[in-house]
């Protein structure tokens, strides 16, 4: 493979990373809202959140992407495929992240909250100083896992025409008749990115453990 083509693949890998991390970020924000709604005692808040999580975890991402990509024009919103892809990935990861966060929040030890009550912390102080930090720390491994899943799942946005790593490999494989080479290189790049994310994740975990309170 020529240096120029490899550079093209590297750039495409960058696109994949950007798409994935933007989705993870937006997904985290939506996930926090969905998680809060799911933990809410009000049924009119809880049920839509339950339905949201169940739908986005129960339908293949490919179908979600096709649905969003074709549905938006049907309701008169013609968005570029990149935007459709970002919406799809973000909503999908939001559902998973909401569940991960919920797991984190529900595993905060009750004793800590009772102790906080005793010393007279307000509910907001309890949330900010006890529940949120502990829940977030418990969620970090799941978040890293989710980042890796989304990095891999983002290959599906190639189907709605976003030129990222998989689509670039596809284009180059078709124009050079060298599918083995280009798909292997793409696979290698995904692997390298995922290993870096996993490595960064375990460093973060270790740092958090060193500074831990409980």
């Amino acid at each position: 493979m020529s240096a120029r083509l490899f550079e093209l693949m590297l750039k495409a890998a960058g696109t994949t990373v950007v798409i994935s991390f933007v989705s993870i970020g937006i997904g985290l924000l939506i996930g926090i809202l969905v998680c809060a709604a799911k933990l809410s005692p009000r049924p009119w808040l809880r049920w839509p959140a339950v339905l949201f999580v169940s739908f986005f975890r129960g339908v293949p991402l490919l179908v979600q992407l096709l649905l969003i990509y074709n549905l938006l024009p049907a309701i008169g919103l013609a968005v570029p495929s990149l935007v459709a892809a970002l919406i799809g990935l973000s909503l999908c990861t939001a559902a998973y992240q909401a569940e991960n966060l919920r797991g984190g929040f529900t595993s905060v030890p009750r004793g800590l909250l009772e102790a906080a009550d005793m010393v007279g912390l307000s509910p907001w102080q309890q949330f900010r100083r006890i529940r949120a930090p502990i829940a977030l720390r418990l969620t970090v491994p799941a978040l890293v896992n989710e980042a890796i899943l989304i990095l891999k799942a983002s290959s599906l946005v190639s189907v709605v025409g976003v030129i990222e790593l998989t689509r670039t490999a596809q284009n180059l494989a078709a124009s050079t008749y060298e599918p083995l080479l280009f798909y292997s290189v793409a696979g290698g790049l995904y692997l390298a990115i995922n290993w870096m994310v996993a490595g960064g994740g375990s460093l973060t975990e270790r740092a958090l453990r060193r500074g831990r309170l409980a």
Binding site: V59, P60, L61, V63, L67, K152, G187
Partner: protein, 220 residues
């Protein structure tokens, strides 16, 4: 946005055949993947070290790359190394190998989670290695790994949709083609989403029911 049910009713036979392919590939790949994954986990646990390392590398590669890339490599790259497969066998083989990588990790964790004391006790009373596997490790593991196995089966239902990209005539391919032929994207894609949603929920429900029934036999 309009919703025309007649498009779907007219195409019912095609939809059913697509569903049959989805279910067939899913069941076959799940079972073969679990079997192969078990063999890989057992080889990594009991086999010689170099083989274990080679299998570990293979599992890491399969788990670290997108399924779509794996399928492209197999389907489009395969003919260059003498593996020419039609879409259905290629999809089945690809999904089985992918599933095996994940199942092997589940079983490996299962092997490691069986209390060492149970294995040592079995050795003390003179059980052979195969007896230990058959009568101690596998029964104890089954309960431990069941939830993750159900989870993996659910992941695999959804992964079958990716096979539409190499033209396996499964539900996603058939139903979304229906959409583009008749310009009925909304109807067809909603139907597709509902079908998978139902499958996934049913699978999760069946898994939980199975778990409750089997929990009677829990040892540890």
């Amino acid at each position: 946005m309009s919703f025309d049910v007649s498009v779907i009713v007219a195409a019912l036979p095609a939809i059913l055949s697509g569903l049959k392919v989805t279910l067939g590939i899913w069941l076959a790949a799940t079972m073969m993947g679990a079997g192969l994954g078990f063999v890989v986990a057992a080889l990594r646990h009991f086999g010689p070290r170099p083989l274990g390392l080679a299998l570990r590398l293979a599992v890491e590669i399969l788990r670290g790359t997108p399924f779509l890339i794996q399928i492209f490599l197999l389907y489009f790259g395969g003919p260059f190394v003498g593996i020419s497969l039609d879409p259905v066998p290629a999809g089945l083989l690809g999904l089985t190998i992918y599933a095996a990588a994940y199942f092997s990790e589940i079983f490996r964790a299962g092997f490691a989670a069986v209390p060492r004391g149970h294995v040592e006790a079995a050795q003390c009373v003179g059980l052979s290695q195969t007896q230990i596997v058959r009568r101690i490790l596998i029964p104890e593991m089954t309960m431990l790994v069941l939830p993750q196995c159900v989870n993996m089966a659910v992941v695999l239902v959804k992964e079958t949709a990716v096979l539409s990209i190499i033209a396996v005539p499964e539900a996603t391919a058939v139903i979304s083609a229906l959409g583009s032929q008749q310009y009925a994207f909304v109807e067809s894609l909603f139907l597709l989403a509902i079908i998978y949603w139902g499958l996934v929920e049913a699978c999760g429900w069946a898994g939980r029911a199975l778990e409750t029934r089997l929990s009677k036999f829990r040892f540890a």
